[in-house]
Symmetry: C2
Subunit: 211 residues, 2 copies
Amino acid sequence: MNPPVDVEGPERRRLTKPGRKTRDRIIEAAAELMFHHGVGGTSIPDIQAAAGVSASQIYHYFGDKRGLVLAVVNFQTDTKLDQQRPLLDHLDSIDALRAWCDTAADRQDAMGCVGGCEIGSLASELAESDPSARTDLSASFDRWELPIRSGLVRMQTRGELSERADVAALATALLAAIQGGMLLSQVRRSSTAYRQAVSAVIDHIESYVVP
Amino acid sequence: MNPPVDVEGPERRRLTKPGRKTRDRIIEAAAELMFHHGVGGTSIPDIQAAAGVSASQIYHYFGDKRGLVLAVVNFQTDTKLDQQRPLLDHLDSIDALRAWCDTAADRQDAMGCVGGCEIGSLASELAESDPSARTDLSASFDRWELPIRSGLVRMQTRGELSERADVAALATALLAAIQGGMLLSQVRRSSTAYRQAVSAVIDHIESYVVP
DNA sequence: CCAGAGTTGGAATGACAATTCCAACTCTTG
DNA sequence: CAAGAGTTGGAATTGTCATTCCAACTCTGG
């Protein structure tokens, strides 16, 4: 019935090489500013200055601020998942889980626990104000949760994890502990809460390990 | 050396009865609006309309928007802790912990998982933009965590919980699970994540119960 | 009751944000 | 190398926001 919508396909062809570069620069600058000052605390003029572009460029590539925010959401998701690889794709042992969570804790300490989680912050700010952002962020969390669950599934398939374990629920619980721990750590300016939250859930997962 | 600062004491005396009523009405209206639309998404004119007051009244009682936000932070903390009582003050059994978390989950379902946690949302939005709000929110989380820890301490003192359990860390982990679970549930519009996150941590606490 | 502190209304101010517009420019493609 | 599509600069527009100001009003303590 409908012709293929293909938001990405033909659109992408209409971008010339410098155009794509400008577009990327805008997203990166916006992501950085929105991470530090929130979406509401980041104005288009701010982004113009940071990216070195004019207003018309932003509106040319993203339509309006909402469109830019959506692009930032997906950029941050891609970036966050990419930077966690390859650890993220091999979470199939208790040690791997601990090592993965530790790198996040160390990174948090390295920046003085400022800023919290890029995705969590966007989620909290946009969940009620931008329905399409909420949808995208829901997908972001799904993309994040999937490799955690996959690792647990592999452990269970190999017989290293009890059949009794609800690995999907455990993966969700670990992601929640990460988010809640990051928020508490951000507010308290100490990674302790994050470490304790994550440690508790991994200890719990470990209780399902068969000897 | 210093005369008693007493920010509350003498200040409070300078408020006449209708003044106090107006002040409270402003805070309640602001809290409601900020919960649904965020701090950045709530303007002074919005609050004026909702509370039925004029601009001068808001500035008279709170100085500026920042002052009002601070008042809202503390109001929401008081309100949230009060509404969780008396359950919150008797978290000294696994059943009590489960029952307490369940009521929050049910309340979440009742409002379609809209809005997340009043305190967590404020924390995420204000942590990097308002230092004094961050400090107050840190204290808010401490106030919330304390009764959880106290309950666990009582269990441990009574010998119901193993000496090996780090009850302070477990209390932090449970609060983090609540926060992270609420955020995921808000974004996904389903209380499942909250229930799973909280359940995992309480299960873990239960593993320290001595038979 | 009556002074003075506390309270209120509402307009005015100044800043700044989001967005639009269009002319001028540059890249790609045939 | 020439369209024509894509890109860019910068000013103009329109709306809204936080905040101020002050005159008029009302409550409370003595």
